[in-house]
């Protein structure tokens, strides 16, 4: 931290640095920063202090504006982000879905690990899809009645080309800077229709439409619940919030994922909910060469 700024109040420090930066931006620059006499004096001292450092002038003694700007940017970073606050800021950025994909911690949910073989994916496949996705979307409707950390979701897509080209779809629950992997599926156009122009959410819908089972809860009957508030029948003695609403032969395996929060005894907010016919999915994967 520059000694000129050390004793200044935080906002004053940031204002001085903002004004110094503004002076160095070439036209066209951005919105201007108002400067009073005291700030002008402080700015002059900031520039003097920075330029007394080695390496901010070239061999001819000319000021290297880019290096000076970088030094000011570094000072601004330090003035804005106190070390003790950085992880909190990072969590807020993460919850908004604005953190770079590479910065999220990946955690595999137990339900996913128990079914990973049936999904014909590996942990490495999933990490790759999240770290270097072809498409990635963070979702949480603003009007959804559940707090961000409990109901935010992230969908990552990784496209594989070639004759057996398909899309790997990964669905995660997002909690601050952690992505909890709920499930991952290989999605073939031959199974679900063209996905080339589809958004991650549309690919998930297409997949659930093809391999999902009908589910029922109270007034809801369908295959896919996505950020909906539903009236349920839990009040009448039911124990399971959802039931499969079609015939499933004995021994058939089902993968279900629900992120649900009770608003009151009757109304439930469902971030995501669907049930996949694992055997039908496995049959399709075998046809595509995945055992």
């Amino acid at each position: 931290m520059l000694s000129t700024l050390r004793k200044l109040e935080k906002r004053k420090k940031q204002g001085v640095l903002a004004s110094c930066i503004s002076d160095l931006l070439p036209s066209p620059n951005e919105e201007s920063v108002a400067v009073d006499a005291e700030t002008a004096e402080l700015k002059a001292r900031v520039f003097d202090e920075l330029l007394s450092r080695q390496g901010l002038r070239d061999e001819k003694g000319e000021i290297d504006k880019s290096k000076l700007l970088r030094a000011l940017s570094d000072e601004m970073g330090a003035a804005m982000l106190e070390p003790s606050q950085i992880s909190k800021v990072r969590d807020r950025v993460a919850e908004k879905g604005l953190l770079d994909a590479s910065e999220y911690q990946i955690v595999f949910e137990q339900n996913f690990l128990s079914n990973i073989d049936s999904m014909s994916v590996t942990k490495g496949n999933v990490r790759s899809a999240i770290r270097t996705p072809d498409a990635l979307t963070h979702l949480l409707p603003e009007d959804f009645p559940i707090a961000e950390g409990s109901a935010a979701t992230t969908i990552a897509l990784k496209r594989y080309g070639g004759p057996d080209g398909h899309t790997l779809l990964v669905l995660c629950r997002r909690e601050k800077a952690v992505l909890h992997v709920s499930c991952a599926w290989r999605v073939f156009d031959a199974d679900v229709g063209s996905t080339e122009m589809s958004t991650p959410l549309e690919v998930l819908r297409q997949f659930v439409e093809r391999f999902g089972l009908r589910i029922r809860s109270g007034e809801f009957s369908g295959k896919f619940l996505w950020y909906q508030t539903i009236r349920t029948t839990m009040l009448f003695g039911g124990t399971n919030l959802f039931s499969i609403d079609e015939y499933v032969g004995s021994g058939r395996r089902v993968f279900a994922t629900f992120v649900v929060h009770a608003i009151d005894p009757i109304n439930h907010a469902v971030a995501v909910g669907f049930a996949i016919d694992l055997d039908a999915y496995r049959d399709a994967m075998r046809k595509h060469g995945f055992n």
Binding site: L17, I21, P26, P28, V33, S73, M76, L81, V89, L98
Partner: protein, 161 residues
């Protein structure tokens, strides 16, 4: 006679920041020509300075991003500009103190891909009444430049070359 389109080059991260923190209103500098070098040397368009030319900015930024240039003067400049804007917007009450911190965190941590350039293509007729002509003293050259302080996302298209 005005041209049918205006052009502005901005990094991807700036688009996201304006979208998420500024209610999808974008503060842009723009010009009537994408590439001033494509115009005759006796045209006033040729007076546009490289630092104001959307094509030059695009190429420079794209090259720095492709090379992963840790010392890119363009990226340093844009990063510093966004940090400064975070303070300005917070002081004017456009964003909260928390949001200003989040913007600074994002630009500090942004991977190179988030600095990739985008060209905003803005139909002149939709924004004509809000265009602010940059006074010649503030321009980098004699070329005509405009400021649009409140460009809505549905008023421009984005292309990547």
């Amino acid at each position: 006679m005005p041209r049918p389109f205006l052009y502005s080059t901005n990094p991807f991260i700036k688009l996201i920041i304006n979208e998420r923190f500024r209610k999808d209103l974008h503060y842009v500098w723009c010009g009537e020509h994408f590439d001033s070098k494509k115009h005759g040397s006796y045209s006033s368009v040729a007076l546009t300075a490289p630092s104001s030319d959307p094509c030059v900015i695009y190429k420079q930024l794209a090259e720095d991003v492709a090379r992963g240039d840790q010392h890119s003067a363009k990226i340093v400049q844009m990063r510093a500009s966004l940090e400064k804007l975070a303070v300005t917007w917070r002081n004017s009450g456009d964003i909260t103190p928390d949001e200003a911190e989040e913007i600074v965190y994002m630009v500090k941590q942004a991977p190179f891909a988030n600095w990739r350039p985008l060209v905003y293509v803005i139909p002149y007729s939709t924004v004509a009444s809000r265009l602010q002509l940059v006074p010649i003293g503030q321009r980098a050259s004699m070329g005509v430049e405009y400021i649009l302080p409140d460009l809505a996302r549905n008023e421009f298209d984005i292309i990547e070359l």
